[in-house]
Point group: C2
Chain length 194, copies 2
DNA sequence: GCCGATTATTGCGTGCCCGCAAGTTTTCGT
DNA sequence: ACGAAAACTTGCGGGCACGCAATAATCGGC
């Protein structure tokens, strides 16, 4: 390993990812085509999809790269605290790490939100949970549930639209909204960690 | 209401949906293009996407149509039983309703599984939960969590692949797998219903 | 250093999804 | 019954994602 091939792949991957993020910030996420990203990174459009399965994936990867280690560390750092608290802290930590501008960029677009949750949150969370709950399926289910809750929190946070009928004013800081959305899952998390 | 326009729309919608299901059963879900479905229903391919946002949506709609009322009824039917039991029964009922052949068809394809969960399960479940939990966000989160658990149950059921390292033999009946995947969420459901 | 084997890149073709702008059908007020 | 307004259908064009086969680059053994 660590041959030339490996390094080249890593280079083009980060080149694509950084080009994607830069262009998204410059022109807005909707005004950047895959061709633009590929051209900026010096590869063919076809090659782009050998590295990333969607237009959004490259953008979130720029913010994601080391997320697995981070989430795992955040969960482990909680030590023997209740699992609900460990997960909440890990999630909040994950979402306060990127630059605010980048975070806005991602949370503003539904597609980017989902890509972020799917690629940057669920897999490392499932791995981290495996060490604190007995069953593998339980870990997967809880990780998926947490991911779903985060998705909802981001959606509500990004849309201060007063729904219509009821006057549901959702606002406040992102950490608050994340913890609020995660709260209903706390009994499940703590019961599983028992 | 009940004008000519309304009836026509309903007619083409069911025509598309039934054609989609029939063709999927006949040739396999991967061997049917939206052009085929549109042609079979007598509309243009462009019109197809005015009715359904994806190739899969029309297929699942054939099995889905009345799901909202059914899920709501299943939850209400549980009366004052624990919410966890009500939800589990509703989910199992939902997934034992279609013909086995159709169910196999849907669970075999990841895209169809997800479409089924997203369009046929989460929305009605969120509505049904609203009547038993206080907060709207809590209802959304729990519905999303249950949907995620169901997705995992279906994936594990459809893949009897012995993962590799650990010898995780997942098998058994679909209802059993659904209840097993939902079990970790029971504490959250019952706590919210308190 | 050379050569066969593995692996990455690229172009091409196919299919999906959707915005937009006619053109057509239904609805509704008078 | 008529004509304007609203809603539906369709073709066109653009963008995304991917399977496939040919080409080019890299690796590993000698």
């Amino acid at each position: 390993m660590s041959g030339l091939r490996e390094r080249k792949k890593q280079a083009t991957r980060t080149a694509l990812s950084e080009a994607a993020l830069r262009l998204a910030v410059e022109h807005g996420p909707d005004n950047v085509r895959v061709d633009d990203i590929a051209t900026a990174a010096g590869v063919s459009p076809r090659t782009y999809n050998n590295y990333f399965p969607s237009r959004e994936a490259a953008i979130v990867f720029a913010v994601t790269a080391d997320r697995e280690a981070r989430v795992a560390a955040a969960v482990e750092a909680a030590g023997s605290a209740p699992l609900s608290r460990a997960v909440a802290d890990a999630v909040v930590t994950t979402y306060t790490a990127p630059a605010p501008e980048t975070l806005r960029l991602i949370t503003a677009s539904p597609a980017l939100r989902n890509a972020y949750a799917d690629t940057a949150l669920e897999p490392p969370l499932a791995a981290a949970l495996s060490s604190r709950v007995p069953d593998a399926t339980t870990a997967r289910v809880l990780a998926a549930a947490v991911t779903a809750a985060v998705r909802i929190a981001l959606a509500e946070w990004a849309q201060p639209t007063g729904g219509g009928t009821g006057f549901v004013v959702v606002s406040g800081s992102l950490p608050d909204r994340l913890r609020a959305a995660l709260a209903p899952l706390n009994p499940a998390l703590d019961a599983a960690a028992g």
